[in-house]
Symmetry: C2
Subunit: 244 residues, 2 copies
């Protein structure tokens, strides 16, 4: 899984490192702010890492050891109360940046929802690069604002929507985020279990199940083998989710 070469002659090279040229995250990701020289510099300490579905990327309260870009897969961010109640507070997709800049320890748990590939950077080097590169901080700022917009949108879903609307909103979110190259994917595999979906929507597993069945019976979606979803009509799904 670690197919990456860490050697790159410093010299007069002005092409980006091979790994970076091939990287899916470069287009929309934070690395787009970096010059070839900076990519070479960052690439010297970066490693490609794999997380199996279900494995923990970082735990609530743990020290931040590094940051990363998601190359492939879905990561869930969650918070837990003392008594075990859990809320998923966000999902991250390629080419999102992962990690909370400027904080020593994580205030949430990040867990691979599917198999996940990331390009990981050690903390110190990356933070130095950020402080030296205003364009990079600008990119990170933009992503933080995007995540803030999404979190607030989801607060409306959590606070004011019915169970039916919540489930439809979730399916709409997945359809619009699962493939970075398409604005809406009509066909996809759910990256989360019913239990995770419940934790994301503030519902129980049973309610999620029933609402899925209802959306299926109303022909808003087709489900095959539990995880595979087909959305025949994007507009109907938006309506069902109360998405404006």
């Amino acid at each position: 899984m670690d197919t990456q070469s860490k050697s790159n002659i410093t010299a007069v090279s002005d092409a980006p490192p091979t790994v970076c040229s091939a990287c899916e995250a470069r287009h929309g990701g934070v690395c787009a702010a970096l010059s070839s020289a900076q990519l070479i510099e960052l690439n010297r300490t970066s490693t490609k890492r794999h997380f199996d579905a279900g494995s923990e990327v970082i735990g609530q309260g743990e020290q931040t050891v590094g940051y990363s870009n998601i190359l492939h897969g879905v990561v869930k961010l969650s918070k837990m109360m003392a008594d075990g109640r859990q809320q998923i507070v966000g999902l991250q997709f390629a080419p999102d940046f992962m990690g909370r800049p400027f904080l020593k320890e994580s205030n949430l748990t990040a867990e691979a929802a599917t198999n996940v590939e990331v390009c990981a950077f050690p903390r110190v080097g990356f933070e130095r690069l950020v402080s030296e590169t205003p364009d990079l901080e600008h990119k990170l700022h933009q992503q933080a604002l995007k995540e803030l917009d999404e979190a607030r949108e989801w607060m409306l879903t959590l606070g004011r929507k019915t169970a039916q609307e919540k489930v439809a909103s979730f399916l709409y979110l997945i359809a619009t985020h699962i493939d970075p190259t398409q604005p809406f994917k009509k066909t996809f595999d759910l990256p989360l279990s019913r239990a995770d979906i419940a934790d994301f929507l503030g519902l129980t597993i049973e309610t999620v199940s029933r609402q899925m069945t209802k959306l299926r019976k109303e022909n808003v979606i087709v489900i095959e083998n539990n995880r595979h979803v087909i959305v025949p009509d994007q507009r109907r799904l938006r309506m069902a989710g109360g998405v404006d």
Copy 2:
């Protein structure tokens, strides 16, 4: 209310403008990133503005005409669905920065919850200053991350807490934010009506009322004249709110 003088001789002055020296927002606010020269520059176009409680600062979908720093008062940020359901997605207190950088139009409504004083900056000039001043963008980035942390914390409240815990969490939030100079204020006036509190917590007015009464009967809080709250024991309030 507009007691501000806009004149400041450019010359060799290296002291911050008088208005800025007296400004409460300077200490923790984004202006702290600016040099005296930059403060003088920004101050040339900034105006102190007042909003009466209940008046709209900016509406969902409106063009961003400027940004501002809250000097005094509480601003509520809300989102509304097509059918009128409303969710308050955040509260802002002095010395918070208001406005969504880098977006042409607002994706939410900002409304003065109490009487509010702000220091307002026209959009274009401020954006130029941001692009020229990495420290200022860093400050804005930090505030965006702080708001993101708070939004996610609130998602846990909205998705997983009981009505009782929600109301206690709200009171705790106010007690810890209403006075920027104190970590916890034992005595305060509620900046929101019961209707607004309901919209913030994803509850109805009646449920908020009943839970307030319950917290009162359990001696977690004392309420005088509807709006005035006394918290005898910070720990008990945290417990009631499931705050960790």
